[in-house]
Symmetry: D2
Subunit: 394 residues, 4 copies
């Protein structure tokens, strides 16, 4: 029997019914005006979600990794210097990508569990005026840590530095507050499968006028990812190659959903679900891997497991015995954490089932746990915090 429980991975998220239907469409001629009628609202919607006053939106049939590559290859040239902190698997991978593309990456090694080190960034920028771009991972999915992007902008300004600010917002955008223009972001990278609650397959980027200018001189090779080809085609209502029409239609619909709820409510919803998870973790006598509460991500929590326990074993047992998906620890936190994704299409009621499953696994594995303890802590929090809206409407 293939009965489907909700997933609790940090993306792809559970898919809302109406988004699945928006994506699943018959073939439409992507060279006809009908395509423009789908594409334009998607692009305009992304602009609003990112809070962009200026610049352009780019959609690429790709993933977050492709989005990073597009950001780098359109704006930089071999040998250029970029600055990046490494404090998790995804900040690491972006650095690796830059190195493979012949960039000189100044790496600020930062303990996992910490966020972007503002002071060190400022110092590095002051010391090296040749840095072309600062790379920032808004939400490090591996450790459940959010970084202070506005703070990075302040550090850049304090250093009087003209580098571009490139932000990996794959696991934050659409779920946690993001301010493209207010934070002075030059390139933001998102993916369809996280806050936008779509299947994987679409990289979603916002690019500032400064990033657009950088295209002119950047010599890293690109064709599939070329922003100029994109913008030229977009201006004619088209796409430089065959677009994934269903995903784009789904994106337009997803943004309608997010905006009909109101983005601030979306963020509050994610915070509420996340806080319930954190209450449960505390009741279990455990802690998030994120070093301090200001770093807690509202989309994913990496739970530090007790000494002698193996987080990966819990994830495997949850999948094999209960049909529930959590995330394993990656890289240097492999085994030391398990991760609970709490973003996208998810309710308090679903989260409780995830917490209950984790508890059963812990008991099965002999971890010190009282069944129902985390659930009770989350129940207590959730029942006191249901938004008035949810009670009034469907």
């Amino acid at each position: 029997m293939s009965f489907q429980n909700p997933v609790f991975i940090p993306g792809p998220t559970n898919l809302p019914e109406s988004i699945r239907k928006a994506c699943d469409m018959p073939t439409l001629d992507h060279r006809s005006p009908a395509f423009a009628r789908i594409f334009k609202p998607a692009v305009e919607g992304v602009r609003r979600v990112l809070k962009m006053d200026a610049g352009e939106v780019i959609l690429i049939p790709s993933t977050g990794t492709g989005g990073w590559e597009a950001a780098v290859s359109n704006t930089l040239s071999p040998g250029d210097t970029v600055l990046a902190a490494r404090f998790g698997m995804f900040s690491h991978r972006w650095i690796d990508l830059c190195q493979r593309h012949g960039l000189n990456v100044q790496i600020i090694e930062t303990p996992w569990g910490q966020g972007a080190p503002l002071a060190a960034i400022e110092a590095a920028l002051k010391a090296d005026k040749s840095i072309k771009a600062v790379l920032a991972t808004h939400n490090e999915t591996a450790t459940g840590v959010k970084s202070d992007i506005a703070g990075i902008r302040r550090a850049m300004d304090a250093a009087g530095h003209g580098a571009m600010l490139m932000v990996d917002g794959v696991s934050s955008i659409g779920s946690m507050p993001f301010e493209f223009s207010a934070w002075g972001v030059d390139i933001a990278v998102a993916g369809s499968q996280k806050g936008f609650m779509l299947p994987a397959g679409l990289a979603i980027l916002g690019i500032s006028p400064k990033a657009i200018s950088a295209m002119e001189t950047a010599t890293l090779p690109r064709t599939f990812f070329d922003f100029k080809d994109m913008l030229t085609s977009y201006a004619r209502g088209g796409f430089p190659y065959t677009p994934p029409v269903g995903l784009i239609a789904g994106l337009a619909h997803a943004i309608e959903l997010l905006e009909s709820e109101c983005l601030d409510n979306v963020y509050a919803r994610h915070h509420r679900l996340a806080e319930g998870v954190r209450r449960a973790i505390t009741a279990w006598g455990m802690t998030p891997y994120a070093a301090t509460p200001d770093l807690y991500s509202d989309t994913v929590t990496a739970v530090k497991v007790p000494a002698g326990c193996d987080g990966t074993a819990l994830v495997q047992l949850a999948a094999s015995k209960y049909g529930v998906a959590f995330g394993v620890g990656l890289g240097e936190v492999a085994g030391k954490v398990f991760r609970i994704g709490h973003l996208g299409m998810l309710t308090d009621v679903m989260v409780l089932s995830g917490l209950a499953t984790a508890e059963m696994c812990m008991a099965d594995l002999g971890w010190p746990i009282t069944l129902g303890s985390g659930v009770a802590a989350a129940q207590d929090y959730y029942r006191g915090t249901v938004p008035a809206l949810a009670m009034a409407a469907e």
Copy 2:
């Protein structure tokens, strides 16, 4: 945001993904051989699920109520006497239907919470040889009580009585053991939306050779429900009017799912989920409305609420505050119970979310409850009883 939690009503059940897809099909010419290729496996599959050695299967675009009416109108004549016990809303409604159709119903009034009174049935049969049919509600959905159909057959045999045995199996068939031929059932009535995990819209009947013979002399009027029209058309691979092709395709697929799991495993799965619910109820200090454990239904539990508490208020709060559907008490148990459906497409993990929601509602309503207590009891039971099969395969 219309995010969808599982439902915990006693049908329609949550729908498996693959059944939804089987039902959602483009138009097919129902007068072509392509229809027969869908229809025949559905009919043959029902025969196996009901465990019919002889007789015919009838599918009617209708509901359980329509199935009752078909059973009665095809086999009985105005003024005929039938015997029925009344111990819940659904046994009541079938009686009411018979009365409206001009039958003389000998009613054995039985306390709600009890099942079919075997001794009283036997006595009634011995006393009245004119009884044409015994009506039995296998699973009384209003009280969560299952009746002993084999016992009724024994009572009929003990009375040496030739009446037909008509069984309402709407909320049992496909979820709890059913033995059409071994129990000497003459008409069994099921519905698409319970154990078969389909949308509502199809009454599913098994009819014995004796019931088929009874058609010849029965004078209650019928056309839409006429078995003879059905059987004549079926023999030609067709249907007497436009059939609901999608539901029939879905039925064939549902039976494939049930049989690939093995019917005995399906029944064991329902028992396991139900038992977890009952453990939770006990932990809450409450009891099922069913009078004794041998009467406990494995598809629905009516939970007796503490004195001074209102079961209907809990159901309304769960819907309005948490977006979770339970069943209210009906008729004479209105307010005195709330009902948890645990049939069809449901996992242990989903059940835990339902129990957790009920607990939040109880706390919200000021009922005496410890959050997490019922969840913990169910967790403890579930984690000790996962079938080996589930652990081995997807």
Copy 3:
């Protein structure tokens, strides 16, 4: 390879994408307010499509046959006299249903290919004041003949007769003009699978205040079809038994589609498609079975086949060789006609493929036909009659 061509049967129609999606929904608690939010717009929409000033709408999980039975059993008593003309398979079947339910049917035998004989009806009414109801088949699907319902009302008025007027609008409503109140209809019966472009499974009725009054004294037995149970439940936002929620949601959406096009445009679209088919038939040297142009149905055409040709053979060949579904001749026109359904989700372009297929079959069967001749006639008509609307919008 199961590649799907459009169907050209007189219902069920091809299904619009968005209607399929509206029907295919997850389980919703039909006892919750969420159901009323789906149900009420469907009921109100039907009222508008039928053009009802007064009376009630009834939705039954059933088919057109069930709708007929509901009409009769709720308003008549055994032995009552009804008047009906017989001029096709569907008018015949309704008569048969009445007879099985113990009604006395005054039958006006009318040649197939003719419509309702107004003068004979008037005469019969004048002669027999005991007639309780006049049954009229608005669109005889077997012969492709429409009848003049307004004319029947005039005949009834001319006779000063107080009988109820019951209309089978299964294959007309939603595709051809219908005026419930203006025509003085007492019961109109429609089905989901024709003009509403839904899967089969829902009988849709409009009932007048007079029909509602008739319920009080009518003694034919009914429970599943009982209007009073329906209306009582509807008033509470519910249903007397488990409703087919997906079909009802689909109905509400279908009416949105029809009304967004505007009903008059819907009727004009059907007329245009039908006229193209008739031009093709003429080009083939054949004629519609309907006796005169004023009788031509805009939803289905029964094509009279040349002497020595077998219409059923064409239908079978189209299905087996080309995967295209037409309708066979039924009853006394079996073999003498084949039927082309041209209602519901269909475009001029699709119709051309149906005509082209029919031509290939004719050639295959050795009928006297010039390939492309009917297609050309229809092309010529269609290209001159595209509505301005279609050219402006998608």
Copy 4:
């Protein structure tokens, strides 16, 4: 009314019902064994469709353009020389991509309407032993021309040249015979949205052992497209980043469909549909743009329009007036042709509707055309060539 006609563009194709359902799936943990159970059959199936004896299959969430870029960037280094003929928009674009990536492209300019010039290729190879790769467009979608890939291999062998052979099979693979190993192909590039009948979003590549070796020394930068990352992850049953699970599931299903029909039958079906289109074109007094019959593509035909006529106007009118999509002429054949795609999910019956639509547009535009003439020619051909299989089965 958004009623949907089939599309006649050269991809994306119309989508089979079952493929849409296979793609539209709930979220699955792509790091779990469940993903491998979907992924592995897809990869193995591609291997069979390409007829690969050795080498590896690569799937990238991307498009054909991304596939080209992956082919080039994984195997070549800046300054490397590649050989390519230019005879249409897609051969042109691949050349452009190479140039942007710093390759030295020896271009053999060839008249549009011709295929790959075998003699010129052989001569060029004999003259320049430094050529690292020969790029070949198997089916030039812009002109409807297929090239002789086996012939190119013979030319390479005749020249005794060790270059890699890279083939753009985007609009041929899955629809026309392809022999990866027999033809000595080193990299074949396909896309999901053509012969595989899926939505756009997946580049599908076969790479030979020689291409795999070339990865070791190739210095063009790549991360998203990196074959080594792919192969390393695949070996563990995973993907280097979030895979488009639905498209991969759909791919596995599409290959089941193709293989259940038998690939040779799939190719024969495409040939039959294409030949019917060509018969129609001849009846119109027009010709395919492809110079000679041996060059005729079986997936797309570019129709040379009469002098003074504008092919683009026909395409625009078909879309705006009839809701039917054809392809415009691209680049130097803009206006001079219109294109009829005849690949993927399409039947003879559907093709006839496309031809009929084209005829109506021609008449509307005042082109010299007899309505029904092309349809009749295609009908005559189609009705004589239905495969026995299609008549026997559904």
